[in-house]
Amino acid sequence: MGDILTPTFLLILLFSSIRLATPLIFAALGGMFSERAGVINIALEGLMLTGAFTAAVATYELSNPYIGFLCGVAAGAFVALIFAIAVIKFEADQVVAGFAVSLLMLGLPAVISSRIYDSAGSTQQIAKEFLLPDFYNRISIASILAFALIPVCWYVLYKTPFGLRIRAAGENPEAADAAGVNVIKLRYVAVIMSGVLAAAGGAYLSIGQSSLFTRGMTAGRGYIALAALILAKWKPIPVLFACLFFGFTEALAIQMQGVIKMPSGEDVPVQFIQMIPYVLTIIVLAGFIGLSRAPKALGVPYRKEN
């Protein structure tokens, strides 16, 4: 145990944590806008998958990761719009509709990729030079973007009239309405923003961390991002730390593989390593949820009084 805690190991762990936290930061920030405006966003998982799939296809076809990334983000905005229409206009149960979007994005990419690549399981491998670049082989350009977005989102949420209105729409939509805020329109914008951000996180997964899209490749990251958001009490700066925490546990789990042995001298089974982030999410939620307070009107459809 002692000989693995070298500076090199710790550095690897740090960079690995940052890399694994990156998609979570994007998704959690997206969820933040939607939930602060009053719309529960279980759809994050599906929006991430949308971004991941679209970016992988577009990057492969166009051989340009930046255009691919933008395509992924645009697709995320589009799917988020559909979700927004269901939950805002038709007042569908937000949790049910959000889950359905995630389910849709398990099936739809498979239908499309089996048509265009004759393979339902994954898209085509993208050559390394067409992936989102890493600096010094360590830090992805997407990680830098994610970290830069934290202060930007903080500024938008707390220092602009738009942010104030979003918060008002989620806390007290009636009062916001009385003050002249168009709550419905704001919620649409907030949900679409969540689609853009979550899809960006997904795009990084397929064209940054990996080099192709595989079915269900987010593996619950959308839900973990939601847990991080709750842990962070729906605030942008704590979101960074919550996501880094989840990224760190995943990094630790990967680095532990083959290093830490069972009492019998065998490797710790891979199944247990894989379980760690999920177990931790449950523990963290149980331990911290009492301390955080959700936006008051979260999950409540808004109907304008005549």
């Binding site: 279980i42 559909i82 269901a86 038709f90 007042e91 569908a92 149960d93 949790v95 049910v96 509709a97 889950f99 359905a100 979007v101 389910l103 849709l104 398990l106 099936g107 739809l108 498979a110 239908v111 499309i112 089996s114 048509r115 339902a120 593996a219 619950g220 839900y223 939601l226 847990a227 709750i230 089974p269 199944q271 247990f272 894989q274 379980m275 999920y278 177990v279 999410t281 449950i282 939620l285 149980a286 331990g287 949820i289 009492g290």
Partner: protein, 360 residues
């Protein structure tokens, strides 16, 4: 009568709308939607063989649909049926091996893996109880977490799906797989734990049709869930919390207790999938056996308006689609079987969106 009509109208509209959207997707992909949908639903009731398979697929869907509905009636969304049925299936196979006198052959050598050999009737009973209890425990965990800490059952059930599926995969791989078996599955359960197949009673239905008496149990559970929810005090209390938790609490009902009860029952119902799967079909735990039955249960419950009769019909409907997906894969040029998953998601979105109109 008007009420019944309204209950039926919107689910039907949702399904039709989903088929329109699905048809557009098929068209964009380059196939004929009518031909595709014909293959999707045209192979379900033509022969005793087809009927048997369709009802076989409907069986787990009835259980998971009921599971999701009981939680729904208490205001909870149980996305964890998938994990619950995996845990239950493994536990059932484990009991079927340990108390079923299982003797395995490892590289030519015989080894007794069982502790005891129970008589058949007793063994089946113990296995069935195991399925219910194991699923119930896995369902109770998010219930307790919600009641005790207020953490959202949706995130917890999703996390428990990942954990449960990994856990049983681990136990299967390291402890219950016959060494040398290339497939990730446990040894076979004892012969005494096998439940009868329906083909025994119906002349003309081929022996290989895996429809078992678990289907009859599923029908029985529809009736029991109906009686529980609408004819007993417990069911009333559970629904009261789902309708309005604070009003129920004011009336002397503990929402926390009801949440735990609802999630436990829900998990137990999901666990019953193991009966048809392990005792009636594969006679072992097979890793990755579920074709998303737990998630499909959500669509079944929603389309069935969380009512046992509706769930029965919706389960048959989705079983038809599931049965048809392989024919779509084979018979159409471009459309893959994942179209069913897409249709399922679109149906959920439409049902949820149209719910607004049924409230009036």
């Amino acid at each position: 009568m008007n009420k019944v009509f309204r209950e039926i109208t919107w689910p039907v509209v949702a399904v039709l709308a989903a088929f329109v959207v699905g048809g557009i997707i098929v068209l964009l992909i380059g196939d004929n939607p009518f031909v595709t949908f014909y293959h999707l639903i045209g192979n379900s009731f033509g022969s005793l063989n087809d009927i048997g398979y369709t009802l076989f697929i409907a069986t787990p869907l009835i259980f998971t649909g009921l599971a999701v509905a009981v939680a729904f009636r208490c205001g909870l969304l149980n996305i964890g049926a998938e994990g619950q049925l995996y845990i239950a299936a493994f536990a059932t196979a484990w009991v079927g091996i340990k108390f079923g006198g299982t003797v395995v052959t490892i590289f030519g050598k015989q080894e007794d893996w069982s502790w005891y050999s129970l008589p058949s009737i007793l063994l089946i009973l113990v296995c069935v109880l195991t399925a219910v209890i194991a699923g119930g425990i896995w369902g109770a965990i998010p219930g307790i977490l919600k009641a005790r800490f207020g953490s959202h059952e949706v995130i917890n059930t999703i996390m428990l799906n990942f954990i449960g599926i990994s856990l049983v995969s681990y136990f299967t791989q390291y402890y219950f797989k016959i060494p040398g078996d290339p497939i990730l599955q446990t040894a076979e359960i004892g012969k005494g734990a096998h439940i009868p197949r329906i083909s025994q009673y119906i002349p003309g239905m081929p022996d290989f049709v895996p429809l078992s008496v678990a289907f009859l149990l599923a029908i029985l559970m529809c009736v029991l869930v109906y009686i529980f929810l609408w004819k007993t005090k417990w069911g009333y209390e559970l629904r009261a919390v789902g309708e309005n938790a604070s009003a129920a609490e004011y009336g002397g009902i503990s929402p926390k207790k009801q949440i735990i009860i609802a999630m436990t029952i829900s998990g137990g119902l999901a666990g019953m999938v193991a009966i048809g799967e392990v005792l009636g079909y594969r006679y072992r735990y097979y890793d990755g056996f579920s074709d998303g039955w737990g998630f499909l249960g959500i669509a079944v419950a929603l389309l069935g308006r969380n009512h046992p009769l509706g769930i029965f019909i919706a389960a048959i409907f989705f079983a038809v689609l599931k049965r048809g997906e392989i024919f779509v894969d084979i018979e159409t040029k471009y459309v893959s079987k994942d179209l069913v998953e897409v249709l399922q998601a679109i149906i959920i979105i439409f049902v949820a969106s149209l719910q607004k109109f049924t409230r009036k």
